[in-house]
Structures are given as C-alpha cells and as structure tokens.
C-alpha cells in the first residue's frame, strides 16, 4: 500500500514495475517515459519497453496491433496526446475492435501547472466516455492508481486510466479497500447532500465535508474511481437518500463526471445538483495551488456549491 502523499503517475509507474513481475505485458511511450513514470518499468524490463517517439497516433494503432496478437500493451503519454491527439486512433484502432489496450494517460487536468493550457487536458474523460466499451478509471491517489493498473490488467478490453503529476494525499488508506471496476465507494456517510468526486478532488470533497459539518450540514462523500461504466445504482441511491448532489472533478464540467452523474440523475431521480470542475474555459500557467484557487477546485467551493444545492431542495 502507498500511504504517502504522492502523484498518481508515481503510483502508475510503481505498479507497472511491480506488476511486471506477475503479469506479462509490454509498455509503449512517446518520448515521455521520465514524466509518465513508465521509465520505472523501462529500467526494470528494458526488453518489454518500446519508445515510439513523438508520434502518438502511430503508437496507439501500434498498440492495437500488439493487442490483436494476444499481448497486453500499456500505452502512455500525456492525457492531451493520448486522448486528444490520438482520439481517432483510440476510437477506430482500439475501441471499435474492442482490443485489450490499456491507456495510461498522465498530466491530466490543470494540475500540470506552469506548462499551461496546451498541456492541461480538461477534455479527456469527455472524449473517452463517448467510445463504446471503454472503461475509464480516474484514481483518487497513488495507492488507488496502483490498484487501477491491476484492475485494468484483469479486465478484458480497452481501459483509459487518468493520472496526474501533482502530489496528492492518500485517501484510500483503509483496511480492506478494494477497487472494483464500476463500483463507487462511500468514503464517509451523510444525510443532507452527497459529494461525488473523482480523481484528486476526492480529498477536497472530504475536506468540504468537514467545512459543512461545522455549519451543521451532513455530507456524504463518494469516490467514483470508475467514471465509465458509472455506478448509476449508487448515484441514484445517494440522490434518494440525501436529496442533493454535488460533483467535483479536475476536468471540464462538460462531458466528464458531472455530465455522467447529471445524465443518470435526470433520467432516473432528478434532484438538485451542482458541478464543480473547470468551467467552459482553458487552463493557464501558474503554480498548482494558485491554479486550483483560480479555477475553483477547492474544498470551500465544493462546500459552497453543496449549500446552494441544498437550498434548491
């Protein structure tokens, strides 16, 4: 178990290196092994690592070819290039034939930091959600990132894993904690509102719960590590039991977790709902704390949105 504060990409790298002993897979990268942390695997298993150079479209289709011969390839790049640049290759080479390719996309969201908007991908979950049969894992911390890798290996079919470069506290240091694809996890119970979070915002949702508790509001916190397939059953249960929902994600409020939850609620159990995420805009350069503040990815904003959702009841 990884208990320390650590970026999810580090958990990814550690998992590849450790699980490489147990499972037979290969790893591809596009000249970013040092950053995506596949370099940890490369060092240990040089014969199973293949750099594809700065050509992500080709890399994705190459991975499809490898998978078509029965091997499991992990493919890594930044989310912007894995999901953005190579979207059509993911859709047509990997998704359509439902090949067993595992995409490890790092540097997702605005926590890329100083590199700015061109590298801050807030659209990858939206893109990947539209691909039939694609599983989307968005771990909350490095420990869960490790679990996501093993779950992806055991799953037969394409998986998109979303990792960040920013160190985040461990929220899954819980006895018996397990990642089961498609099953959301209630991390803390509550009765007035449910904070549904994914990725590193899970720890912000837990902090928001404390802020709300000080004001006499009881908030439930749910970790959605699998954005697709969404645990619709749990989302509906929370809506029925708490009557208000707030989503939190480091992604555009269009097309990501917020949209997925809104779709599930609207069709099954409409209740007041608010979305916390990157509004319909681009990121920009800055330190991560400054960016989180500027884009409203804070515990306080989640708590404020919760209060306004409750008011709408």
């Amino acid at each position: 178990m990884i208990k320390e504060k650590m970026a999810t990409r580090e958990g990814y790298g550690q998992a590849l290196a450790a699980l490489g002993e147990k499972y037979d897979f290969v790893v591809l990268d596009a000249d970013l092994a040092a950053a995506t942390k596949t370099g940890v695997f490369k060092k240990k298993f040089p014969d199973r690592f293949f750099d594809c150079g700065i050509a992500e479209g080709n890399m994705m289709s190459v991975a499809a070819g490898i998978a078509a011969t029965g091997k499991i390839p992990f493919v890594s790049s930044f989310a912007m290039f894995a999901a953005g640049r190579a979207f059509e290759q993911v859709r047509n080479s990997v998704g359509y034939p439902h090949l067993n390719v595992k995409i490890g996309a790092t540097h997702a969201g605005i926590t890329v930091g100083e590199d700015g908007a061109t590298h801050q991908c807030n659209e990858d979950i939206a893109l990947m959600r539209t691909i039939p049969g694609m599983v989307i894992l968005n771990p909350a911390d490095a420990n869960e990132a490790y679990m996501a890798v093993e779950a992806a290996i055991k799953h037969d079919g394409p998986v998109y894993m979303r990792f960040g470069r920013y160190a985040v506290p461990c929220v899954t240091d819980i006895e018996g904690y397990q990642l089961e694809i498609g099953k959301g996890i209630v991390l803390a119970d509550g009765t007035d509102v449910t904070l549904i979070a994914s990725g590193f915002t899970v720890h912000l949702a837990l902090e928001a719960r404390n802020i709300l508790a000080e004001q006499g509001v009881s908030a439930r916190v749910v970790n959605i590590h699998t954005v697709k397939p969404l645990d619709t059953e749990l989302v509906i249960k929370c809506a029925k039991e708490t009557g208000a929902i707030v989503t939190a994600e480091e992604h555009s409020i269009i097309g990501g977790l917020g949209s997925a939850v809104a779709e599930a609620l609207t069709e099954n159990c409409p209740v007041p709902m608010k979305r916390v995420g990157v509004e319909d805009t681009y990121g920009r350069s800055g330190t991560v704390p400054a960016l989180l503040e500027a884009y409203g990815l804070t515990a306080k904003n989640i708590a404020d949105k919760a209060l306004s959702a409750i008011k709408m009841k």
Partner: protein, 275 residues
C-alpha cells in the same frame, strides 16, 4: 513461374474480380476501382505467400494481413470467400444491415480479417504492432499490409514507416497500391505523395517496384522481402485502378461507385470471357 501456376493464379484473380463486382453491385455502393487494382496481389498473398488456415482463422501461427486501405474491403472479402474463409454467397450481403461484411473490414465479426481498418493511415501502424509483437515473443509469423497511394498522404503512414525501420521489422511487408487516382483526381493533382520509392528508402526500407498485375514480379518481390534481413520491405506496386473491367480502368469516377444493371452485365461478361 510455371505457366500452369500463373494460369491458376490468373483464374483465381479473375474469380476474385467477379466477387468484387457481384458484391459491390449487390450493395449498390462501395469501392470497386481500388479493389480491382489489388486483386492480383490479394490472390498471390492468400494462395501462395501467406501461412493461413481457413478452417482456423484465429490460428496463432498464421501470417497476418491488414488492409490499411480498408475501403477496398470487397477485394478482401472476395479473396476470403475464394480461399474458403467465408461462404461465397455471403458476398451479396456486403454493406447490408446485419451483414458481417461491413463497408470497411471488421475483425470482430469477419473470419479471416486480422484487423479492423478503413480510417486511412491507421492500418499500417497496426501491422507494425503485429510485426513487433512477433519479434517480442520470437514468433515467425509475417505481416503484410496494403496501403493506398492516396493514403500515403496521411502523416501517420510515415510515422509508421519510421517505426518499422527503427525496430528493424523485417517480418513486415508494406505494399503500396500505386494506381495514381484518389477521390478528387490524380494523386499528382490532389497532393502529390511521390516519389514513394525514394521516400521509403529514406525511411530505411528495402524498396522494390513492380507491376501489380504481373504474378512473376509479385512473386519475385515477396521472395526478396523474405530474404531481406534487418529492415522492412516496401513494394511499390504500379497498378491500374479498375483493372479487368474496361470502362472502369483508370477512371477516377469508379473509386467509390457501384455499377448500374447494364454496367454490371458488361463487367461480368468481360470477366467471364476471361475464364
């Protein structure tokens, strides 16, 4: 090549051309021009060159084929039917609702199709992945892919070429169907991708230029590809788009149009006369 073998291959290629016309006519749409231009190469690949077993289409040791120019699926389907992977009568279901013969190859549902393809530029990369996979596990299967000359305008083709050369994929053969025509006109007018030979050479390939309709040259090139070690082979196959149907030959309008009833009858009559 012995005369009897050449005659046998020519007969098969002619039957494949009939299958192409039958299926595209039945569908009422599709891509006959670029299907007819590769019929001879498809024949040689599936009847002479490749290690395949129609009874066991997923055989792990089989050679792989990727039709990167996937819009010419009628040629692949007619070949698979002729080789016994799928029933010939199914060719008439091409592009119809609920048919497993999709407008572009679908590996999930069609026996003998090794890779779904059709979005141009992607297939050659997947072929590279297959060839690399063989190298990784020390398997001896070979990988063949046919790309279009128009398709070679896609940047990904050259990303794949760089990759194939970098990883010394001498078990990979890229066949470029140089028929000179693409949807909007000649390749020279639309976006000139030539010279292909010099480009592939510069990317580190063993390059062989042949007449795509000459079985002796096809055989010679594929034999030379097998003997070439340490680098992938590109076969530049100069072809006639619409080959075998007089009114379709070298006519860009037959890139993606099906013959009407009268035209269908003429095409079948011409091809049947060759029998």
């Amino acid at each position: 090549m012995e005369q009897s073998k050449r005659q046998m291959l020519e007969k098969i290629a002619n039957d494949i051309r009939i299958g192409i016309i039958e299926s595209v006519y039945s569908a009422g749409c599709g891509h006959p021009g670029g299907s007819l231009s590769i019929a001879d190469i498809m024949t040689y690949l599936y009847f002479e060159e490749m290690r395949v077993d129609p009874q066991n289409p997923k055989w792990e040791k089989r050679d792989r084929f990727v039709l990167s120019k996937g819009h010419t699926a009628p040629a692949l389907y007619a070949t698979l039917a002729e080789r016994g992977f799928i029933p010939k009568e199914d060719l008439k279901t091409l592009r119809k609702i609920d048919s497993y013969l999709q407008g572009h190859p679908d590996m999930k549902h069609t026996p003998g199709v090794d890779m779904s393809s059709g979005s141009l530029g992607l297939g050659i990369s997947s072929a590279c992945g297959m060839a690399l996979s063989a190298k990784i596990s020390g398997e001896d299967f070979r990988v063949y892919t046919i790309i279009g000359d128009g398709e070679s305008e896609e940047g990904q083709v050259w990303e794949a070429a760089m990759f194939a050369s970098h990883y010394k994929l001498d078990n990979l053969v890229v066949i470029l169907d140089l028929n000179g025509l693409q949807i909007d006109g000649t390749i020279y007018d639309v976006m000139n991708p030539t010279p292909h030979d010099k480009k592939f050479e510069a990317f580190g390939f063993n390059v062989i230029t042949i007449d795509a309709h000459n079985f002796d040259e096809i055989e010679g090139a594929l034999k030379a590809a097998r003997e070439c070690k340490g680098k992938p082979t590109a076969i530049i196959a100069k072809s006639v788009k619409g080959k075998g149907v007089s009114y379709m030959e070298n006519k860009v309008e037959w890139h993606g149009a099906a013959p009407k009833e009268e035209q269908y009858k003429i095409a079948i009559a011409e091809l049947t006369a060759n029998k």
